[in-house]
């Protein structure tokens, strides 16, 4: 308890409170601009944190990280463009609601689910750190290369299974995403794949180039070539508080989704991408009207938002407990930890317990502050989602813009064909994880059986088989029912 009070005391200073406020409000605005996202924002802010106090730097970055997860739901819901792949599934039901003229309902549900997911994860993460922190090292040791590969493979299977009416097309596009992920020099074995002697391709495609092209530019092309008589419905009618009331009608979905987000956030390297598909597929399986998923089902939107917002706090757990950053954003935060002379790991509980409490309480304050900001200012924030993206910022490279335009045109064609866009991006993300982990673990894989002979990978493989069997049986039933 003493450490808890010390933690609260650390936060009670003007610079820290101002950093929380700037991080929270700024993160929402950054998240709302498609293609900018928390990764770029934190990368821009990182050099500036050198001049700030340690706790001020961390709460500023945490503010941007945590609040941008709320912000990215705005373009996903209103203009069918997710700010990051993490909330790609929000577009399915959120945008469908917008098209029905229920944009305010979609946004309020997204805020409520995000708030629940965020708080759930923070409180659980805090409890887990207090109770089991020192033992998490053992859990981390259970996850080897093959286990993470299998977890990513499970994510792929769930993604494809979630596209119930378009599973073949989703699988095809996922494979295309994986193919794009293979392009470039394989760092571990120094093999050039599909580079054709072109210098640009040696580094592979930047994920942001693909995301901005496939989602944002293709959407811009779609709007530019469309008729004025059919603009996207983005008018906000009605209050933004009612989502909190509606959330009470879906207690199971929101709790399970927040749980998935928390558990997946803790697993390094897989977390946020897989969590939303686990949650979405589960919500669909639990739903009495699975046919409405992708057409504005509230439980679909809740599943996606609750799970992705549960990830930031959960992702701090392996970083703090094991010193293992789960993804790019926590890796960036690790830089600040090292600058502050704090070494994340099991010893952190003995040496910097008050610092830990400060971080988690700051996250809790950020969640409350962001929801209040959004309830008051959403009608102004929605204006910035129409701001064009700035691709020069990624690698300051003209070629990035060219490829983004190319991916934009590909995305436009897919939109014309009414094919889903998400599998390409997730194929790229999960594909890279699968390829990296498979390559890194290849020395231990002599036969296919070696992939599944570990406790975790074996269990995940059984889950994959169960998902496939379940999908096959339900598809067959659905087909019989339709005929």
């Amino acid at each position: 308890m003493e450490a808890l009070w010390h933690g609260i005391d650390n936060l009670a200073s003007w610079p820290v409170l101002v950093a929380i406020l700037i991080g929270s409000v700024g993160g929402v605005a950054i998240g709302a601009v498609p293609g900018i996202g928390p990764a770029i924002a934190i990368a821009i802010l990182l050099p500036a944190t050198v001049f700030l106090d340690d706790l001020v730097s961390l709460v500023l970055l945490l503010g941007v990280y945590g609040s941008s997860m709320y912000g990215v739901a705005i373009p996903a819901t209103l203009i069918n463009t997710p700010g990051t792949p993490v909330n790609a599934l929000t577009t399915y039901d959120g945008y469908a609601m917008t098209r029905r003229g229920e944009a305010a309902r979609g946004l309020s549900l997204a805020y409520a689910a995000s708030f629940f997911g965020g708080c759930f994860s923070i409180l659980l993460g805090l409890s887990a750190l207090m109770l089991f922190g020192p033992y998490l090292r053992d859990l981390g040791a259970l996850f080897g290369q093959r286990d993470i590969f299998m977890a990513a493979a499970l994510g792929a299977v769930l993604l494809i299974a979630a596209h119930r009416r378009n599973m073949g097309i989703a699988a095809l596009l996922f494979a295309l995403g994986m193919l794009i992920a293979m392009i470039g020099r394989q760092s571990l074995k120094q093999i050039d794949r599909y580079t054709f002697g072109i210098d640009y391709l040696y580094a592979g495609f930047n994920l942001i180039v693909v995301i901005v092209g496939i989602f944002a530019i293709s959407q811009a092309l779609f709007l530019l070539t469309g008729k004025d008589a059919d603009p996207p419905e983005a008018r906000l009618r009605g209050g933004l508080l009612r989502g909190f009331g509606e959330l009470k009608k879906h207690p199971l979905v929101v709790t399970i989704s927040a749980g998935y987000g928390t558990v997946m956030g803790i697993i390094p390297g897989v977390g946020e991408f897989v969590a939303q598909f686990f949650s979405y597929a589960t919500a669909r399986a639990l739903s009495k009207a699975p046919g409405k998923f992708g057409r504005g089902a509230p439980d679909g939107l809740i599943a996606s938002e609750a799970s992705n917002n549960a990830v930031p706090a959960a992702a701090m757990v392996p970083l703090l407990a094991l010193g293992v950053p789960g993804e790019a954003l926590t890796a960036m935060m690790m830089v600040v930890f090292f600058d502050a002379g704090i070494k994340p790991g099991p010893d952190i509980f003995e040496n910097n317990a008050d610092f830990l409490f400060s971080l988690f309480i700051a996250l809790l304050i950020i969640n409350v502050l962001v929801v209040l900001t959004l309830l008051v200012s959403t009608r102004w924030i929605v204006r910035i989602i129409y701001v064009p993206n700035r691709l020069f910022s990624i690698r300051n490279a003209f070629t990035d813009c060219m490829f983004a335009a190319g991916f934009g045109f590909l995305g436009y064609i897919l939109r014309r064909l009414d094919w889903p866009l998400v599998p390409i991006v997730l194929g790229l993300v999960l594909g890279s994880i699968m390829i990296d982990k498979l390559t890194a673990g290849s020395s231990q894989i002599k036969t296919v059986f070696d992939l599944v002979n570990r406790p975790v990978s074996g269990t995940l493989f059984v889950v994959i088989l169960c998902v496939l069997a379940f999908t096959f049986v339900t598809s067959l039933r659905q087909r019989r029912f339709e005929h």
Binding site: I44, G168, L172, I217, A220, L221, F222, L224, T225, V387, P388, R390, L391, F392, S393, N396, F398, C401, M402, A405, G408, F409, Y412, I413, R416
Partner: protein, 125 residues
């Protein structure tokens, strides 16, 4: 693998063709290709903009795109142009001046300006 995939694609195409014919939707290849060509025009606009940035700088290029593209789409007149110029300026101020997003290192137009002004433009616009 390619043969079954191609056959599956052919089957899907035939079904889509019948479905569109049933609802009397435009079904010709020419119609779809025209839509794609229309999108390519805007891809060209985007590429032209990214080519202009190293020559004219972020400020002038954004102002040009922000006014010329709406003009091309039919949003003409003093009121629309005023809105476009204001919006373009706001974008530059937020992203370049505020967030300091990096444009190309060498900008031809800024290099032609006097030393002090050139440095100012390179830092802020």
């Amino acid at each position: 693998m390619l043969v079954p995939a191609a056959l599956w694609n052919l089957y899907g195409s035939v079904r889509a063709y019948r479905w569109r014919a049933r609802f009397q939707l435009p079904n010709g290849v020419a119609h779809e290709l025209t839509q794609w060509a229309r999108a390519l025009e805007f891809v060209a606009w985007f590429i032209a903009y990214t080519m202009l940035v190293p020559v004219l700088g972020y400020l002038v290029s954004t102002l040009l795109l922000g006014t010329a593209l709406p003009w091309r789409l039919g949003y003409r007149g003093a009121r629309w142009m005023g809105i476009c110029v204001t919006a373009s300026l706001a974008i530059v101020l937020v992203f370049r001046t505020g967030l300091q997003i990096k444009p190309p290192v060498n900008i031809w137009l800024y290099d032609q300006l006097p030393q002090g002004l050139s440095t100012f433009m390179k830092v802020w616009f």
